[in-house]
Symmetry: C2
Subunit: 575 residues, 2 copies
């Protein structure tokens, strides 16, 4: 029997429990042990009067000793309603100490207050905590739900290689020097994008894989050098087919894992709408705050900082919580970090107006603002006036920030939406050319193909993201299934013929032997588990995570190797 | 509807089929197309009299064009009993050519006779073949069966990192230079051995993972640089528990995938038995031939080449097939390649004796041989006299070789056995010391621990392999769960204190905080699929395999990278 399974119905049975000593209390003639395994905790009792030898063994027990105990299940005198085994205890007849334990450097409880460094170094102790074990179990269960669903829909799980070719036009690759092929390198995949398309060219029809992907980027919070992706691709489909089946997948996950019934179809929003109403392409729709266009309101105001700017604002209710001047100063710094030249504010409180731009404000302005923001109560309006993109993105970030302060980002609420009608390209100041918004295999909207050479900014893509609570959970697109169109896209991206041939030659050739219309999606699996587990820390959902500097504090990876090893790989260190 | 699904019951229905043109026959006023997708083939008919425009489109069709056709299911005039859709055909009303196709460089049929090089370069065309698609589907289905079984037995699938630390005491690692941690390297895992043990230390109780592993070894046939492993570990178990649950897993796989009922428990054989009776620790038990000890028989023979040697032999029946002198010469070379100094043979045919050692043979010898080999019919006896190990292993190899010639290795027969009681160590001439037979985390048999320092060759291990048809399908062991015993093993392997600390310091410390008895197993998943698919070529069960020189002919991996990329990684090429 497992430690979490002992119940009233077992009273009188003789059973064996294996586990770790969570806590021991020696009351002289009687010793109580809380015995723990992955299923829970049982109370285990040693009575001196029963058997002195067994009792002597029990006296040796300390925290985290591993034991097997055999005895009779009995009713507890003082029941513990907080644990499922709290009605009963094990009256021990025999004990075997399976392994002794040194005093662990961190406590095995959720609120141990150990530093993250200690927790990662002693990950095998940290993972003894129920919360982390529960997360790993949730992760495994979610993977099983996904596989069950996709298997039942005739998707074939296919493994693609980890040792593959560098990703052209992608983020930075992890490289693996080849020993056999001198001065050549494999790359770890950033995603199996090209190979899953090859499976469609091969006629595999429906593919999926829960697969490790890799990006050698500077790690921000909640990024890991390796991450897990639910990778899906289908043939003979359009956007509607892909959205429909993936909605059902998401619905199944929420039902099985959280017991939540999601109503289908999920809402959809165009990219332009998302940007103009929420200032971001992954809006958090758990709260209603929206960006409003204020150029019309302030068109008569002669204010340098408003001149030729896109003026937008958000309004937040202040009935319960009021933003202090200090807080507003912080928010001003916040939007400046997001590129805005400043933050203006207007407070309406019991019909009194205070504002950073009070001298420009007329009653008419206030009336119009009240109308636009549909204000009935006290409110605080934040305004940014800048270039359109800066105004929107900085206000979009501010929108999330103030919602956080107001407690509007409820962890137990899930607001999902598809974002569609993405632009095909975005202009990269850095590269001085248009680059793909998604990736160069994305199919342009048919009626926009004519703009490819003349007005690339007008071209929309058959691309879609699924957004939950302000996080992009997944994204995908219909792919190009025609080699000529694929070449055209590379040319629109200003790749030379030589570059196209070198980087994508095999891929374009592959498309030329009869390629079905196809498309797919990839979900960020770690992020999905974070969402389902209700944690903001990616390390909580990965068994052996790495630090921000991409090291494993448990094993010490990465580490030094010998010169002989490098010589075999035809490389040497540069110091 | 899919191309393989159209049936008599569908007659009269209007349906759409999507697929590739497998074959087109233009008979003037009528065009027949075999339309193919992953489920099968349907006959599709265009009649000029129906619709001239549609017919004109159909006239453009060539092999591997991708089309969508809509029409009415009708009964076929001349039925094709060879395919499941052979009773019906689709009378087409409309057609859309979804993608045209250049003439493919290899034929899309199983017996295309294309070179392996062409098949790998155009893998996306090779994968259009039914046999390869069936293998990938079998692979996916087998993975699903394994996951279902293990999930139902409360195993938790946990992902371990791909970017990890070099494996001490293992094969050659693939290394990944770290950009952030200058002159340091990750290694790709050869197996998640240490980390799955960490999960047991963490109390996760039952772990599994279907996981990619990596070894940078010179590739023999049927080896790939990356391979897939079914990795399993359990706590609070002994050998019997692990064998029992894994037998049930194997039984389930054979039942679900092959429809074969395996009888449990599976046979077991000790390592010593396997070596002495079959000359190998992975005996093929589909045929009964056994090595017999012949020293007693020939004890009176004064023959230099028998002196102080271990003399063993095998006997093969020759009722139907006779081994020619030329064939015997080949087999002599064969055993010499396996280290033996020669091969002696005795032929008994209609009571006539011919032999390479005829001058030493008496009637008594022949009588004794007949008794030992239980000969009733014509037979050929092969004898090797050499050092014990050489005699056994060369005869073991010969045993498989002659069984192959005699057609005794039936692909549709499955003979399974566990091999147990492995020695803990084997002496490495190369290293001048004992090395681990399995790996250094293997638990020695309790009553042999006393020999660790004095007679390491006497120490047996709690290790086990599962062998099918002469292939090792998996292996594992009970692990050491005590830090002191673990240190002792490293010392028996002649590691210095410094080496132990540097290579295994964290691991030994981890064992010191209370470690449950635990053990596990790892199955070679690629090999399992080969066995179930009945193929001898590992490339047949992997979507994108690499060549013997570890290159991908499709993508060109590995490939050159820029000096800038290497500089970022603090390495440079050595030419």
């Amino acid at each position: 029997m497992m430690c979490g399974q002992m119940r009233k119905e077992d009273i009188g049975k003789e059973i064996t429990l294996n586990g770790w000593v969570q806590k021991e209390r020696n009351l002289g003639p009687i010793i109580f042990i809380d015995l723990r395994d992955t299923t829970g905790i049982s109370q285990v009792v040693f009575r001196k009067e029963n058997d002195e030898d067994v009792f002597k063994e029990a006296e040796k027990l300390r925290s985290e000793f591993v034991v097997a105990v055999r005895g009779i299940v009995e009713e507890r005198e003082s029941k513990n309603p907080n644990i499922e085994t709290g009605d009963v205890e094990l009256n021990v007849k025999s004990i075997e100490i399976l392994d002794e334990a040194n005093t662990p450097p961190i406590y095995i409880k959720d609120d141990d207050n150990a530093s993250e460094q200690m927790r990662l170094k002693y990950r095998y102790l940290d993972l003894r905590k129920k919360s982390l074990q529960d997360n790993l179990k949730l992760r495994a269960r979610t993977a099983a739900v996904i596989r069950d669903f996709l298997n039942s829909e005739n998707f074939i799980e296919v493994e693609t290689p980890v040792l593959t070719n560098p990703t052209p036009e992608g983020a930075r690759d992890y490289l693996v020097p080849s020993r056999v092929n001198k001065n050549s390198f494999y790359a770890l995949p950033q995603s199996p994008q090209q190979l899953k398309q090859m499976l469609m060219v091969a006629g595999m029809d429906r593919y999926y894989q829960i697969v490790k992907c890799f990006r050698d980027e500077d790690l921000r919070a909640n990024r890991q050098p390796e991450f897990t992706q639910v990778d899906i691709e289908m043939s003979f489909v359009d956007i509607e087919d892909i959205i429909a089946i993936n909605e059902r997948l998401i619905q199944r996950i929420f039902k099985e894992i959280k017991g939540i019934d999601l109503k289908l179809p999920l809402p959809r929003m165009s990219y332009n709408d998302a940007m103009s109403r929420f200032g971001v392409d992954k809006p958090d729709l758990r709260f209603a705050i929206e960006l409003k266009d204020l150029n019309e309101v302030f068109k008569d105001v002669d204010f340098d900082l408003f001149k030729d700017k896109t003026i937008k604002g958000i309004a937040v209710g202040e009935s319960e919580k009021e933003f202090s001047r200090k807080h507003i100063d912080k928010l001003t710094s916040f939007v400046k970090e997001h590129g805005a030249n400043g933050l203006f504010w207007i407070r309406i409180k019991n019909n009194e107006i205070s504002s950073s731009i009070k001298k420009f404000l007329t009653e008419e302005h206030i009336d119009k603002l009240k109308e636009i923001f549909d204000l009935k109560d006290n409110a605080l309006i934040f305004i940014v006036a800048d270039k359109k993109e800066v105004t929107e993105t900085s206000l979009g970030a501010l929108r999330n920030e103030v919602a956080e302060s107001l407690g509007l980002r409820d962890k137990n609420k899930y607001a999902l939406t598809w974002i569609v009608d993405f632009p095909m390209f975005e202009y990269s100041e850095e590269d001085g050319r248009y680059v793909s918004k998604h990736h160069p295999f994305t199919h342009p909207v048919d009626e926009d193909i004519k703009f490819l050479e003349t007005d690339p900014e007008k071209v929309r893509a058959y691309a879609y993201d699924i957004v939950i609570n302000g996080d992009e959970l997944g994204g995908g697109s219909i792919r190009i299934n025609n080699s000529e169109l694929q070449s055209k896209i590379f040319k629109a991206l200003k790749l030379t013929d030589e570059e196209i041939e070198r980087k994508f030659g095999y891929f374009i050739e592959a498309l030329s032997y009869g390629t079905p219309p196809h498309g797919g999606i990839a979900f960020g699996f770690d992020r999905l588990i974070m969402l389902l587990a209700g944690t903001n820390n990616i390390k909580d959902v990965i068994a052996f995570p790495k630090t921000q500097s991409a090291t494993c504090l448990l094993t010490g990876a990465p580490s030094k190797v010998t010169d002989d090893q490098l010589e075999e790989l035809h490389i040497k260190n540069v110091f």
